[in-house]
């Protein structure tokens, strides 16, 4: 894989860090994604998508283990990201594997809802 060019992000209480993991990219989200994080997320996720497609990666591991909370506006940012992936030609689409924290209960419900939005692209692990 070419070199990943995605510097860590720290916006308010939200931290985002992407690292190569074999042939995949792991993106860790930590902290809180509330109203303060929504605008930064709306620019960070498209930049991340652009980098992922530049590298031609087939799978992104989205690590929510340390994400304490996400509001609906930030959830919309992820919906938009998933919609962008769905809009790619099939051969350019990549899978999203969400790592959730079983003790953070909203994650089970929200990620299941997100998965229903794009069952062909999203897998959830806890």
């Amino acid at each position: 894989m070419q070199t990943l060019n995605f510097p860590p992000v720290h916006e308010g209480d939200l931290r985002i860090e992407a690292t190569p993991q074999g042939s995949a990219i792991a993106v860790k989200f930590a902290g809180t994604a509330d109203m303060r994080a929504q605008k930064p997320l709306d620019s960070v996720l498209p930049a991340l998508h652009a980098e992922i497609t530049r590298l031609g990666v087939g799978e992104v591991i989205v690590d929510f283990f340390s994400l304490e909370f996400m509001n609906s506006s930030c959830f919309k940012s992820f919906l938009t990201w998933v919609g962008t992936v769905q809009a790619l030609a099939p051969e350019r689409q990549y899978r999203l594997r969400f790592l959730s924290n079983a003790s953070v209960h909203w994650q089970r419900r929200s990620l299941q809802a997100l998965r229903c939005f794009a069952t062909e692209l999203i897998k959830i692990e806890s």
Binding site: D13, D34, Q38, N71, S72, S73, V104, W106, S110, A113
Partner: protein, 160 residues
């Protein structure tokens, strides 16, 4: 044992919403054995308060949360926010709640998720749809002379 309750009258801002959410989750964890229930209460509280931050037309919002026993003896939780709002925002939330309450919660949530992709953030109703679908709460709207009350209610496990 008296019903556990919590009432807060304040001027919410973006940072305080998360602070209140954490406090509400810890507060009701003292009375509920089910962490999923306290998580649902916290999530609904957060979404309701963020709506107040966005749409309240003056500075005061009242948040009231209570765990109570229904006529069937089951313990339930009610969460209510009250604030003044502009007529156009009242009309928007009324239309959303009316549409939502005629549909299956999860199906409506998926509809709003798709709809949200083509509308500006904060105007899709995703937060309220999330309360109904993910928190499994009924949603009721009351309007009285420009003052809006959103009341969400759900069954929960028995309190200690």
């Amino acid at each position: 044992m008296p019903n556990p309750y919590f009432t807060l009258k304040f001027r919410p801002n973006v940072a305080l919403v998360s602070t209140v959410r954490r406090f509400v989750e810890e507060f009701f964890a003292e009375f509920l054995d089910d962490p999923d229930s306290t998580s649902r209460i916290a999530l609904a509280t957060h979404e309701l308060l963020e709506n107040a931050v966005k749409y309240a037309s003056d500075e005061e919002t009242v948040l009231a949360i209570e765990i109570f026993s229904g006529a069937d003896g089951r313990r339930s939780v009610s969460i209510q926010t009250t604030n003044r709002a502009k007529p156009e925002n009242i009309a928007r939330v009324r239309a959303l709640v009316d549409e939502m309450n005629q549909a299956d919660p999860l199906a409506f949530y998926q509809t709003v998720m798709r709809r949200s992709l083509s509308v500006p953030v904060g105007s899709s109703g995703l937060g309220i749809a999330r309360i109904r679908a993910e928190c499994e709460m009924s949603v009721e709207l009351k309007v009285d002379d420009g003052v809006v009350t959103l009341l969400v209610t759900a069954a929960t496990e028995a309190a200690r």
